[in-house]
C-alpha cells in the first residue's frame, strides 16, 4: 500500500517546515512540500502548517499568511474534512482563517518563551491525537512570542463543555493563555491547532522526549484506516 501523503506548507518566514516534514517521515508517511504561492494541494491526505514567522508576522501573527494563495484551498478542504494541523505560527494562521475560534496574542509576560513544556492531552478523538491516552502527559518544546490564547467567554465555555481543548499547559502557564489552553480542535476534530512543537520532540537525540511523534503517527493511522 502507498504511504499516506502529508503536505507541509512553506510560507516566507516558515522555520519548522523541514522538522515537520522529518516528523511526518519518521511516522511512516510521505511528506509533500507545498508552496504558499500556489493553489495546489497536490492531492495530499493531510496538511501541516508549520511554525515560524510567516510574512514576518507583520500586522498580527498569521494575519497575512491567512490570505496566501494556498490558504484558499486549505480552508475549503479543511471545511470538507481534510485533516489539518497548525503548529505555533500554523495555529495562529488557523485562528486568523477562522478555521479555529479565538486568537493568539503576545505572551502576557511580553517575553519570547522557549522551554520544554509539560502538557496534558485532554482530547484523543481528533484526527491528530488518536494514538495518545486521554490525560496522557507529554513534554514538548514551546517557543513563541504570541502564544496567549484568548476567546470570548461563550467560546471558552463551548470549547470546555464540548471537549475541544486538545492540550493544556501543566506546571506553569507560559504565555497567559486562558484556561491553560495549549491546543484546540474544531467541531469535526479534523483541524487541530497547537502552540507547542511536537515536531521538535520526535527523537530523543534532538528533543526532550519523543512525545510529539504521536501527533504524526495518529494521522498516519487515521489515514490508513480511512
Amino acid at each position: 500500500m502507498d504511504a499516506a501523503r502529508v503536505g507541509v506548507i512553506t510560507f516566507p518566514g516558515s522555520l519548522d517546515d523541514r522538522d515537520a516534514a522529518r516528523a511526518v517521515r519518521l511516522a511512516g508517511a510521505e511528506p509533500v512540500s507545498l508552496w504558499h504561492a500556489e493553489h495546489d494541494l497536490q492531492g495530499v491526505d493531510a496538511v501541516v502548517l508549520p511554525g515560524g514567522f510567516s510574512y514576518g508576522d507583520y500586522l498580527r501573527a498569521g494575519a497575512i499568511a491567512r490570505f496566501a494563495p494556498i490558504m484558499t484551498e486549505v480552508i475549503a478542504a479543511a471545511r470538507d474534512g481534510l485533516p489539518v494541523l497548525g503548529i505555533c505560527n500554523g495555529f495562529q494562521v488557523l485562528c486568523e482563517s477562522h478555521l479555529l475560534p479565538g486568537a493568539l496574542l503576545p505572551n502576557a509576560g511580553l517575553h519570547f518563551v522557549c522551554r520544554d513544556q509539560r502538557l496534558r492531552l485532554d482530547n484523543t478523538s481528533t484526527a491528530w491525537t488518536g494514538e495518545y491516552r486521554s490525560g496522557q502527559e507529554l513534554v514538548i518544546p514551546i517557543k513563541n512570542a504570541d502564544g496567549r490564547y484568548v476567546a470570548d467567554a461563550d467560546t471558552i465555555d463551548e470549547l470546555e463543555t464540548s471537549g475541544r481543548i486538545v492540550a493544556r499547559y501543566l506546571d506553569v502557564n507560559p504565555n497567559g493563555s486562558q484556561n491553560d489552553i495549549a491546543g484546540i480542535t474544531n467541531e469535526a476534530g479534523n483541524v487541530v491547532g497547537l502552540m507547542p512543537h511536537p515536531e521538535h520532540a520526535v527523537e530523543s537525540l534532538t528533543g526532550p522526549s519523543a512525545d510529539g511523534l504521536g501527533f504524526f503517527t495518529s494521522i498516519v493511522k487515521r489515514l490508513v484506516n480511512a
Binding site: 500586522l59 498580527r60 494575519a63 497575512i64 490570505f67 485562528c95 486568523e96 475560534p101 479565538g102 486568537a103 496574542l105 503576545p106 505572551n107 502576557a108 509576560g109 511580553l110 496567549r148 484568548v150 476567546a151 470570548d152 497567559g176
Partner: protein, 85 residues
C-alpha cells in the same frame, strides 16, 4: 497641475476592552517613575493611514471599513474606527 483626488483615511484599531493588554500595562507602570502621576491605565492600539484613490467621501470611508474588517483588524479580538484625515 492638479493631481487626481486622493482621500486620506485613518483606521484606529484597539484591542477589545475585556482583552488583557500587557504592553499598555507596562507603559502605565513606567509613567509614575517618570513623574507622571494619576494615570491608572494605558491601552495601546494601532493607527493606519490609508491613501485611497478618489474623493474623501462616504464611499471612501466604506472602502476603508471593508479593508479594516478584512485585514487591518481581527474582529475576534479588536475593534476599529475610521475617519477622514
Amino acid at each position: 497641475m492638479r493631481g487626481a483626488a486622493v482621500a486620506r483615511v485613518v483606521v484606529d484599531v484597539m484591542l477589545k476592552p475585556e482583552i488583557l493588554d500587557p504592553q499598555g500595562q507596562a507603559i502605565a507602570r513606567k509613567l509614575p517613575q517618570l513623574g507622571f502621576e494619576g494615570v491608572p491605565a494605558v491601552r495601546q492600539g494601532k493607527r493606519f493611514e490609508l491613501e485611497l484613490d478618489g474623493p474623501a467621501d462616504e464611499a471612501a470611508l466604506e472602502r476603508a471599513r471593508k479593508i479594516a474588517e478584512t485585514l487591518l483588524a481581527n474582529p475576534v479580538i479588536e475593534t476599529f474606527e475610521v475617519h477622514a484625515l
